[in-house]
Point group: C2
Chain length 211, copies 2
């Protein structure tokens, strides 16, 4: 199934949720589901679901609904969970360690192949069988191992320099936990921002304005 | 300045970014800025910025622009960064520890007052001067200390039970790192979801579809 390059990011951002729900359905032994039933479970309208999935050619059959296994696999392919993109993680502080330890990279389309930190004192420590390496060997490592994606868990103030270095080394995508605006400088790379402090401030607003 | 209850979440979600940019401007000693200059720095259009800030009554003056300090403080008030909402964190695994250690709660409107985990073996360990407590004392702690917000860093499969318990104990808002859909069950609480696995899958799609 050919993917359409002009699918809006809001549709793309809903796909991992479909993928999760379908995974749960599979685990529950459910083999087919109507868009109406899926919509009830997901809190979306049935027409929204049909619209979303139509962006990719649609997988449903009138009167039958969706085959859970097929839809799960197709959405997985669209998301690229089988791609195994080589990823490095820069910054092995509390957040970086949690990300490296907590995430299931492999089932999400990535393979974590290297962890780097500027703190020489922690070089050699192991996280999930990967040694923390000094940032000084980042160039050599990338030239040899050709990672395509980097997760950034470093202070925002140090980010620009590292991003410059990584883009020059061929990194095409960033999982960005910093506040450095990568796209403003490099509009052609893929960026997914996780801004925890923005998220917690939005929560503060919501709590204050919830009756 | 009275806040308007019907401001769209997309505007609210941009406010922390304004707040960050204004904080940087302040640090750089810049005391006033035009919407055009702010828009250049933020990658938004000037009219978008004027529209956003007009939702809250607008703080700019024709021909003068915005007073950085005033705008920073007003956005801070709107976001509630001075509220000091009492927060507890449930789940002191890798992610929970990183969140507790890494985040600046106080400057974001919260005060972290308790950390809980079901693992009795780690009870008593300290994170940022807060002892990890057994989940068994959650009820007593909440009745005595009246937290209003909870950060959830527990497995999704254990979330429903804990959310039920916390809502019964008076929790009004959740910083939700799990995949349990809190709003589907409790539509009246404030919820801010951080779905790291959705984020990394969206990145995989983007990398695959970036030329």
């Amino acid at each position: 199934m050919a993917t359409n390059k002009y699918i809006s990011m809001s549709v793309i951002k809903r796909l991992p949720r479909y993928y999760r729900f379908l995974s749960n359905l599979k685990d529950d032994g459910i083999s087919r589901i109507s868009s109406k039933e899926l919509s009830n479970r997901m809190g979306l309208t049935a027409s929204q679901i049909r619209q979303d999935l139509n962006c990719f050619g649609g997988f449903g059959q009138q009167g039958y609904g969706y085959n859970v296994e097929t839809l799960y696999e197709e959405i997985g392919k669209i998301l690229g969970v089988d791609q195994g993109f080589k990823m490095i993680l820069v910054g092995a502080g509390n957040l970086g360690r949690a990300i490296a330890t907590h995430m299931s990279f492999q089932s999400r389309g990535f393979e974590l192949i290297g962890i780097f930190d500027k703190n020489q004192a922690i070089a050699g420590e192991m996280i999930k069988n990967i040694p923390i390496r000094s940032i000084n060997v980042l160039d050599d490592f990338c030239k040899e191992n050709l990672p395509v994606v980097a997760a950034l868990c470093i202070p925002s103030s140090e980010s620009e320099e590292i991003v410059d270095q990584l883009v020059a080394l061929g990194i095409k995508g960033f999982w960005n936990f910093t506040h450095f605006d990568i796209l403003a400088k490099y509009p052609d790379v893929a960026v997914e921002n996780v801004h925890l402090s923005d998220s917690i401030m939005t929560l503060s607003y919501q709590v204050m304005n919830t009756a």
